[in-house]
């Protein structure tokens, strides 16, 4: 079982690669819409990539209100 910190790190690395933002510029409590400069449709695309990476399914409706990397990682971790 991965720790929350490990999941956060993997999420940040994947987001950094996918959105071409330096990993050093991202931190767990950042708002990913603002930090990555993405809209809600692009965020869905990022979710799909995270699902493929972690081999899980994240329902869209559970992601409502989630806008920072830490909470996103928490939602992922409970499904691992």
């Amino acid at each position: 079982m991965k720790t929350l910190e490990q999941v956060i790190e993997e999420v940040l690395q994947l987001a950094s690669r996918h959105c071409k933002v330096s990993r050093e510029d991202l931190s767990a409590d950042d708002d990913f819409f603002q930090k990555l400069g993405i809209d809600s449709l692009q965020a869905l695309d990022l979710l799909t990539r995270l699902e493929n990476h972690f081999h899980i399914e994240l329902p869209d409706y559970e992601m409502q209100g989630v806008s920072d990397f830490r909470r996103l990682a928490e939602r992922i971790q409970v499904r691992l």
Binding site: Q34, L47, Y61, Q64, G65
Partner: protein, 571 residues
């Protein structure tokens, strides 16, 4: 379809639809490639009535107010019918609002019953001001096994076997309170009557009929006025079916069209544009010969459907494109914001009519709608039956404020007689939008004169609502305006917000102040961010209670400064 003139209320007409088409499918709920369930009208009733019965047994008074905060799913519709059956007033709230905004609207609407998804309930519980809410009954769905319900009840368990009593409502009674915007001080709760919905539904289905077998793909949440009408009420009173898709991932949305043989769908302009981009990418990837052929067939289709759509022919000419959409698609509804004419033309040329229209909660979900006789990409269509549209004080080009009078006009804003009187004058809704009626009776829009912007996603943003982000800024005073309110532009799609800064005595708008403004601006979602600022050197006019007199300040600004005084607030 049912003759809606015969019914006194939304609930009564839905009840009649259930009796008329008990064995037709009314709801299909899918999540990605899985189908969660499929309900006939009889089964739908079987889920709703025990809930209505439970509401009555708990002693909910007549005309109790029940809010729904849910994403796109069939329990939304089941709950809504139960509320109408038990005589309640529905408050459809946007699930995308923050917890604090939900608290504000639940307080303003004096909601007694809340129906909400578990994850949103958890968010609401942690929100500022929650403790002051009086909510005797909260029903939650999607609750994980073993989760703490935090004082709520499971929606699935809130049911009583006894037959509920159908509570009759009159046409003039309020059916729903719909918030057209307005958090941050002045919530705008539009009181929509049963008559409003019945008349709107009559006029819409006259132009775009539903019938048993028709399938409407519901992607927008049902709290959205368009989806409430064409993704719930309209299809139901015609015996048609609604397909709910619980994901917005483009790959699953695409698959849903052929899988469920979709007839109609509603989209906001942003999603339509995304669909266009996706199709363009696919077309660009075709081998040169196929690409040329597609271009030729599209041009032929455009020429042959110049006067009106010819679906059979379009499906034949552009078979592969239509097959990807399931082959049954008759129209895409789009509204809530400005749609680029080139996008409308793109789909029309492919034989997929996009019915763009114009509406606002206060006046009617759809006031005008394109009827494709012939297709016009440059207008928002003609007024629907029963809608009167006129242009107030037109200028030399015939452009003025759009006024609307109809049976679909709301009864007023909840607890705000002053704002109601400003908005509805002698029965006419002052829309604040600038438009012109052309010789064919089509409405063309040219921008907005009110202090508001509308995003591509169809959200109304009032500058007043976002000023709290700049609270205690190190200036004497500040104010946010929609740029079009200060300098009306005869153009659409370029709406933005302006921050007017009046520095403290002896100070200027310096780099440090601007950096602070930018820092706070970044806290806002992109679509709410300030794009430019205007330094201002005199005191803002204020009321006796020290509120800024916005119209007066706007006039001073437009008289005293040119638009070129605006400076970009680039990061």
């Amino acid at each position: 379809m049912l003759d809606l003139r015969r019914f006194p209320s939304v609930g009564a007409s839905l009840q009649a639809a259930i009796d008329r088409w008990p064995d037709e499918v009314c709801l299909i709920e899918a999540d990605r490639e899985r189908e969660n369930h499929r309900l006939t009208y009889r089964q739908f009733e079987g889920l709703a009535l025990p809930l209505a019965s439970a509401l009555q047994e708990m002693g909910m008074p007549e005309a109790f107010r029940a809010a729904i905060i849910m994403t796109n799913q069939s329990k939304w519709l089941v709950s809504a019918y139960a509320v109408f059956y038990a005589g309640g007033i529905l408050i459809p709230l946007d699930y995308k609002l923050t917890g604090r905004e939900h608290v504000e609207l639940l307080t303003h609407s004096r909601t007694r019953v809340l129906i909400i998804e578990y994850h949103l309930w958890r968010q609401l519980r942690q929100s500022e001001g929650f403790d002051r809410l009086a909510l005797p009954l909260v029903l939650v769905t999607e609750t994980p096994a073993g989760a703490d319900l935090l004082g709520a009840q499971r929606w699935e368990e809130c049911r009583r076997p006894e037959a509920p009593r159908f509570v009759a409502r009159r046409r003039t009674d309020t059916a729903c309170i719909v918030y057209s915007s307005g958090t941050g001080g002045r919530p705008k709760g539009c009181m929509m009557t049963h008559d409003n919905y019945l008349e709107q539904c009559r006029s819409l289905t006259a132009l775009y009929p539903f019938w048993p077998g028709v399938r409407y793909l519901s992607i927008l949440p049902t709290n959205h006025a368009i989806d409430f009408m064409v993704g719930f009420f309209g299809p139901f009173i015609c015996g048609a079916a609604v397909v709910h898709l619980r994901t917005l991932r483009p790959e699953f949305v695409r698959d849903a069209f052929p899988r469920y043989q979709i007839t109609y769908v509603s989209l906001v302009p942003m999603v339509l544009k995304n669909l266009e981009r996706g199709l363009c990418t696919r077309f660009a990837g075709l081998p040169p010969f196929k690409r040329s052929l597609l271009g030729a067939l599209t041009a032929m289709n455009r020429s042959l459907t110049r006067r009106r759509p010819w679906l059979g022919l379009s499906r034949l000419l552009l078979r592969d494109v239509h097959r990807a959409f399931g082959g049954k698609l008759r129209a895409i509804f789009v509204g809530g914001a400005f749609t680029e004419p080139s996008t409308l033309q793109f789909f029309y040329d492919l034989g997929i009519p996009v019915a763009n229209g114009y509406g606002l909660t206060e006046a009617g979900t759809a006031v005008t709608l394109n009827d494709f006789r012939p297709f016009r990409a440059d207008t928002v269509g003609r007024p629907l039956p029963g809608m009167e549209v006129r242009i107030s004080d037109p200028d030399g080009e015939g452009i003025g404020e759009v006024l609307v009078r109809s049976k679909t006009v709301m009864a007023g804003y909840l607890d705000d007689a002053e704002l109601t009187a400003e908005t509805i004058v002698d029965g006419w809704v002052r829309t604040g939008d600038l438009g012109r009626l052309d010789a064919m009776g089509h409405l063309q829009l040219f921008g907005r004169k009110k202090n508001m912007i509308v995003t591509e996603g169809g959200k109304n943003i009032y500058p007043e609502d976002i000023e709290n982000v700049f609270d205690s800024l190190a200036v004497k005073e500040f104010c946010v305006f929609a740029r079009n309110y200060l300098w009306p532009q005869k153009g659409l799609g370029r709406e933005e917000l302006v921050l007017v800064l009046h520095p403290d005595a002896g100070k200027t708008v310096d780099a440090e102040l601007l950096e602070e403004v930018r820092r706070r601006n970044r806290r806002l979602p992109d679509f709410k961010r300030i794009r430019s600022y205007l330094p201002w050197s005199s005191d803002f006019p204020r009321t006796a209670s020290m509120k800024i007199k916005r119209p007066d300040l706007a006039r001073l600004i437009t008289e005293g400064a040119g638009e070129d005084g605006l400076r970009p607030l680039a990061d």
